[in-house]
């Protein structure tokens, strides 16, 4: 029954864009946004997915909720296959997985009251209506630190942090097993970030929900995650438990990300060894041969351009895809 503990199982998922299709045949190079990734998330766990813009983080999260079809691989939520599921099946599965988006201003319908927004999943799935619905919405609002009487207000009457609370309430309305947080605090003021993060942690303690936390802010990741996955050009390059990850990053790309995090203490900041990567992120339409990172890697040797390193387990349990680290 160990299968049941996994709320999410991703196996060799690949998502490509373009290539064939289009009215006039081939429309150019295939963009390989996600290129064979495997990941499990257990109940109550928070997994961070980090990487720079364009590495495939958002594509992967869209694939998990079935908004994007992969070209290969399998995505199972609570043991049920998302890939190739029909509409009805997909709707059943989506009961268990919800999403929190980056910009709370855009993730709430400006023409709906927040009560209607939070209640929508409950109405369309016939969970509650009328008075019961009102009570559920009120309870959800209270759970995220708002008041039940806020239900009649419109999104523009709230601050950014409050709006993100509303988004969280909607995501939790169906009591999902997994919530994908797509950079949930990066659009917020620093002062309210901690509040939202603490709210997410508190809700996890109460409900046992798992989070897939997409972010590029390692400071945030360190604060709330159990495990960290680093993604580069559609592949995972390092997977490690949080403490291992921050104490002993191995992949040169991870090290570069770490050295880019500013320190609050100027003394520490000045003495910090900066590992600055040269060049730009290569286009996912033309991924370098071998190790995708070898074009920017300080450790790269001849083998890196030839052979792609697989994720291998290291002494401390971290899995790293690198020939040299």
């Amino acid at each position: 029954m160990s299968e049941q503990k996994h709320v999410l199982e991703i196996r060799d998922v690949a998502v490509h864009f373009g290539g064939n299709g289009g009215l006039f045949g081939k429309t150019g190079a295939v963009v390989k946004a996600v290129n064979g990734v495997t990941l499990d998330i257990v109940r109550g766990e928070t997994v961070a997915l980090v990487g720079e813009s364009g590495c495939g983080k958002s594509t992967l999260s869209n694939t998990i909720v079935g908004l994007q079809q992969p070209v290969a691989g399998s995505v199972k939520i609570g043991g049920e296959e998302v890939v190739g599921a029909d509409r009805k099946k997909l709707n059943d599965i989506r009961r268990k997985v919800q999403m929190i988006f980056q910009d709370p201003a855009l993730s709430l319908d400006p023409r709906s009251t927040i009560g209607a927004t939070i209640g929508e999943p409950l109405i369309v799935r016939g969970v509650a209506k009328g008075k019961a619905l009102k009570e559920r919405v009120g309870a959800l609002l209270q759970q995220v630190g708002l008041r039940p009487e806020h239900a009649d207000r419109y999104p523009h009457q709230f601050s950014g942090g409050q709006r993100q609370r509303v988004v969280i309430a909607r995501a939790l309305a169906l009591e999902p097993d997994l919530v994908i947080c797509d950079e949930p605090v990066s659009a917020l003021d620093v002062s309210v970030r901690a509040q939202i993060l603490n709210l997410l942690v508190a809700l996890q303690k109460r409900t046992g929900v798992s989070y897939l936390f997409v972010s590029h802010d390692l400071g945030v990741v360190r604060h709330i995650c159990d495990r960290v996955v680093v993604m580069y050009l559609g592949r995972f390059v390092e997977i490690a438990d949080r403490d291992t990850f921050f104490a002993n990053p191995k992949h040169p790309y991870t090290k570069a990300l770490m050295s880019a995090v500013p320190e609050a203490d100027p003394e520490v900041q000045r003495s910090k060894e900066r590992l600055i990567l040269g060049g730009e992120l290569p286009s996912p339409a033309m991924i370098p041969s071998g190790c995708a990172f070898h074009t920017r890697c300080p450790l790269a040797t001849e083998i890196c351009g030839r052979e792609r390193p697989e994720l291998t387990v290291r002494d401390d349990g971290a899995r790293v895809a690198c020939h040299h680290a």
Binding site: M99, F101, Q102, L106, D109, Y154, Q157
Partner: protein, 285 residues
């Protein structure tokens, strides 16, 4: 509580909108009551009293708006014509909005083959002159009030489709639509609960602009003998006759024209205000 809310909201209605509503109400009421308020039969000809200026008196009746080329009372004709013009314009706007907006939203939401079929159909419709299409339809169906509404409604929908389609494309990519999908909402719910309210503003603008145009289209078709059949009156028909006599009898064009101006202006002001009201952001701060 709710009543108090309503009164505070009413108090915030600007004076211009109140005036415009008053004008619209007067026009509509007069159009409905035309048979009772019109001083004489609008079709009664009087060849001795042709092209008489406003204020002309004959047989104890004062012709406040003057008479037309057949000596018919312009005031009565304008009153009777109001109903026709209002009816044709508003009904055809409703028909074309319903058809156009639905097709536009469907094309923008489902994309793919549906989108190609609908949008190419729009291109085809836009490339045929509306008048030509109207002439063709009337030639097949024959003239008449409801047919006129149908013809105007079914030739004007592509404009709404274009606007609705473009707006839908824009809104459909916003995260809150994605969130609704994840919540389990079906296409109908997303289209009518989330997309429609968010694209209603630009559509309302098109509809108010089209409203005035519809009255003129009706006039044009009536002028060509394809719309309202004489001797029945419509503002367009009166004006198209008056055009011939504009040097000798300005009043034939002037009175229905002024009414038309008031109507279209009022509808535009009201539409503008309504569009703002549709947006909760401008309703309460």
């Amino acid at each position: 509580m709710n009543n108090a809310l309503l009164t505070t909201r009413l108090r915030r209605v600007p004076i211009s909108v109140m005036i415009v509503c008053l004008i619209l109400t007067i026009i509509v009421v007069l159009a409905i009551l035309a048979p009772y308020v019109a001083p004489v039969d609008p079709s009664k000809q009087n060849l001795l009293g042709r092209l008489k200026p406003p204020g002309f008196e004959r047989g104890g009746i004062t012709y406040w708006f003057g008479t037309d080329d057949l000596g018919r009372d312009l005031l009565s004709r304008t009153l009777y014509g109001a109903g026709v013009s209002l009816g044709v314009a508003s009904l055809s706007v409703v028909v074309s909005t319903l058809v156009g907006v639905t097709l536009g939203m469907v094309a923008g939401w489902f994309r793919g083959a549906v989108e190609i079929v609908i949008m190419r159909l729009v291109d085809i419709m836009m490339s045929i002159p509306a008048i030509l299409l109207a002439v063709l339809t009337v030639a097949v169906l024959g003239p008449g009030f409801l047919k006129l509404v149908l013809v105007l409604g079914l030739t004007r929908w592509p404009r709404y489709t274009r606007v609705a389609y473009a707006q839908t494309l824009q809104v459909a990519n916003l995260p809150f639509i994605k969130a609704s999908e994840l919540a389990g909402a079906g296409a109908a719910r997303i289209l009518f609960r989330h997309i429609l309210p968010n694209i209603a503003g630009p559509i309302l603008i098109v509809a108010t602009a089209e409203f005035g145009l519809m009255i003129l289209m009706e006039a044009g078709l009536s002028f060509l003998g394809l719309g309202i059949q004489p001797p029945a009156a419509s503002w367009g028909a009166i004006m198209s006759v008056g055009r011939e006599y504009i040097e000798r009898a300005w009043w034939i064009v002037a009175f229905p024209g002024a009414c038309l101006f008031l109507l279209v202006f009022s509808v535009n002001v009201l539409g503008d205000w309504l569009r703002d009201q549709l947006d909760p952001r401008s309703r309460s701060r």
